[in-house]
């Protein structure tokens, strides 16, 4: 396929791998975190670990939107659907995230709740238009990539006077999560970040500059294709070797320093920062998520239906928190692959194929067989 195959070329991958192997210094480790689930998926899907020397280690970050959604947020959506009888719309994997009382949105649906899987915010608007007698709530999740389409939907609903549409806003911010990972007391054993692809097309490369300037961690923004990831790893190894920490952009075909200004304006018009937001794995992180501005409060399902957020602790055996912070590997969790599998996820990292645990389970678990 043109414009895709070029970025999946096995020969080129071997060349980059040879450079990484030659340039990585044997007397040290390179601990690199790919923040995004999209990168986690690419690394696992293409078996990139096999192309890296053992001292270049990839650590999966928290950038999987459904993985960082805490139980209490899913509970909120389930309550809306079951107790208030709304049509609850959301993106694919979200319906499988485990919630309280052994429920998930999918299980709530089987018990009679009206939960609908949609591909786009436009689908949610369409459902609202077609069901004027019902309340339609869109569970809006995701990082900066999915936020602009939500903003468009809210503005459209306002313009059309669509009174039966509202959103449960769980949009979160990438730089805030990276701060949370780095701000751990005593520092973290990370040598650099593979920076997000799609998120960066929206926010640009500028917001990552503090991680290089203040924390001294190199960041290389990379596309989601396997060669992008390999090239970014090589660029990170070089920065580490040269003792540099800069924001570099491997994904120049889509990312600029300023990002998509139009999308940023749109988001700023509709949303404002929450004071704090609870993430699964990272706990409460200040200024890390968005809520609707007062001007659009009529579309805020939390206010409209008075469903408060109630924090719920994760399953005690679940290590999602440590895994999302890059402190543990999936296979170090006691319930990984036994009680917790993609078919019966206990923790959120096992839900989406972008989650660290699901990716390792689905693509990499043969590595422990030896």
């Amino acid at each position: 396929m043109k414009y895709v195959d070029e970025f999946r070329d096995g020969e080129l991958a071997k060349n980059i791998a040879a450079n990484i192997a030659r340039e990585a210094m044997p007397n040290r480790d390179y601990r690199l975190m790919e923040f995004c689930g999209g990168h986690t998926h690419a690394i696992s899907r293409y078996g990139l670990v096999d192309l890296l020397p053992p001292n270049v280690r990839m650590i999966h970050g928290p950038g999987c939107p459904v993985c960082v959604l805490p139980i209490g947020r899913v509970d909120q959506a389930i309550r809306l659907a079951r107790e208030q009888g709304v049509i609850l719309c959301t993106y694919a994997d979200t319906v499988r995230v485990p919630a309280s009382d052994n429920l998930s949105l999918m299980r709530a649906k089987a018990k009679g709740a009206d939960v609908r899987m949609i591909y786009s915010t436009q689908d949610a608007l369409k459902i609202a238009r077609e069901n004027p007698g019902r309340e339609v709530v869109f569970l809006a999740i995701g990082f900066e990539t999915t936020t602009p389409p939500t903003a468009v939907a809210v503005k459209q609903a306002a313009a059309e006077g669509l009174k039966n549409f509202s959103i449960l806003c769980d949009h979160v911010l990438t730089p805030a999560a990276m701060h949370a990972i780095l701000a751990v007391e005593g520092g973290v054993a990370l040598d650099g970040f593979v920076g997000p692809a799609h998120v960066s097309t929206v926010i640009g490369s500028k917001p990552y500059e503090p991680f290089a300037d203040d924390y001294g961690k190199p960041v290389v923004i990379a596309g989601f294709e396997p060669l992008d990831v390999m090239q970014a790893i090589l660029m990170l190894v070089r920065q580490v070797n040269e003792g540099r920490a800069a924001v570099e952009n491997e994904f120049t075909r889509a990312v600029t320093r300023e990002g998509n200004l139009k999308a940023q304006e749109l988001v700023a018009e509709v949303f404002e920062l929450r004071d704090t937001f609870e993430w699964r794995g990272l706990g409460s992180v200040p200024h890390s998520a968005l809520k609707l501005r007062d001007k659009f409060s009529a579309f805020d399902a939390e206010q409209k239906f008075k469903v408060d957020y109630v924090a719920v602790p994760d399953n005690k055996a679940c290590e999602c928190a440590a895994i999302l912070r890059g402190q543990k590997r999936p296979q170090e969790c006691k319930i990984f692959g036994t009680v917790c599998t993609p078919d019966n996820p206990v923790g959120s990292c096992m839900v989406s194929s972008e989650g660290a645990c699901a990716a390792h389970y689905s693509y990499g678990r043969f590595r422990e067989a030896v």
Binding site: G47, L48, A358, S362
Partner: protein, 350 residues
């Protein structure tokens, strides 16, 4: 003296504008009329003509194979086929991959009140055509009608019976380390034809379902004399799920070569666009064969000589592996597990 009873007259079915109503499933005259004017007319064969509750069939020579399959595909009509021919091909293939020659089919229809008779006729005629082309008659059937909103147009269940000749033993538990894994052609065509139509995606070249009856190809493969261990058609769950089923049944592992697995370009593009992996997308006209290594070159030649397997290829090998992992060497040169499908990737695909 002439009788005063007027001769029977039944107004013919209004195929053009008529719709299924509850009386078509009542067991009364309306149902009898639907059966005779639509179903019996299309399927027309000596067994159906017996007009009894069941078909009386001649003695079969060999072990019997029986398989059944329900079809709930949405949309009912798609590029490359419709629910009618799909319901014939699907069941014939399930019988044929057991190494059997398919002989007879039954067909059971659940119709939704309000379904246009014109669409029903199109579906039934497509079924009849597929059955005639395959040489496997529909010998008995049933029709039920459910109220509007309780079905989705039409659901079709077909059951097939076939006979296995002496000396043929195919089973999912017979794969042995060292055996080769063959695939008859490209993957993902059926699932992506359905999904791209559902999502209104258009590509430069349309995606066409591969729905086809495979018993002719399978007969040629059986006649080749190759030591075949397993045949399977990778339908729902795709190639990945079917290989995992075989690995589990046989207690073996597998190593696949990603570069050997062919995917049509528009299918690849659609998968890319929708974030799907073609390894998990349904096929309706492809088969997997597991064969002793020494017979593989000959088998491959026989397969490639058949119009339904021109692109047949060896895609991997069976390994000894207590964990039963199906693994793959990726195009990038890395290794990964090719796991079972988790959850539901594409509902209502067949």
């Amino acid at each position: 003296m002439t009788s005063g009873v007027k001769p029977n007259y039944t107004r013919p079915l209004d195929i053009k504008n008529g719709r299924v109503d509850m009386s078509h499933g009542s067991g009364g005259r309306a149902m009898a009329q639907l059966i005779s004017e639509l179903f019996a007319a299309a399927f027309n064969n000596e067994y159906l003509a017996q007009g009894n509750d069941g078909a009386l069939l001649p003695q079969a020579n060999g072990r019997l194979v029986m398989a059944t399959d329900s079809h709930v595909v949405s949309p009912l009509f798609f590029a490359g086929g419709d629910i009618g021919c799909l319901s014939v091909h699907g069941t014939i293939n399930d019988v044929a991959v057991m190494g059997a020659q398919p002989l007879y089919l039954s067909a059971s229809f659940i119709l939704e009140e309000g379904f246009p008779l014109a669409d029903l006729k199109r579906i039934v005629e497509s079924m009849a055509k597929a059955s005639r082309e395959a040489g496997v008659p529909v010998v008995t059937g049933d029709t039920k009608v459910v109220e509007q909103g309780k079905g989705d147009g039409v659901f079709i269940t077909t059951t097939g019976v076939g006979v296995v000749r002496e000396g043929i033993n195919l089973s999912g538990d017979l794969a042995k380390p060292g055996d080769k894994i063959l695939l008859s052609g490209t993957i993902g065509d059926h699932g992506m034809a359905i999904l791209s139509q559902r999502e209104g995606l258009t590509f430069s070249a349309p995606i066409v379902s591969d729905t086809a009856a495979l018993h002719g190809l399978i007969a040629a493969m059986l006649d080749s004399g190759a030591q075949l261990r397993v045949l399977r058609d990778p339908t729902r769950g795709g190639l990945a799920t079917t290989l995992n089923e075989i690995a589990k049944q046989s207690g073996v592992g597998m190593m696949l070569q990603e570069s050997a697995i062919a995917v049509n370009q528009p299918v690849e593009a659609a998968c890319e666009f929708l974030g799907l992996d073609p390894l998990y997308v349904a096929n309706e006209g492809k088969l997997i064969a597991i064969c002793a290594p020494e017979d593989t070159p000959h088998l491959l030649e026989v397969m490639r000589a058949h119009p339904l397997a021109r692109e047949a290829a060896v895609i991997g090998e069976v390994l000894e592996d207590a964990h039963g992992f199906v693994q793959m060497t990726t195009k990038l040169g890395g290794r990964r597990v090719v796991d079972w499908l988790a959850g539901e990737q594409l509902p209502r695909i067949c």
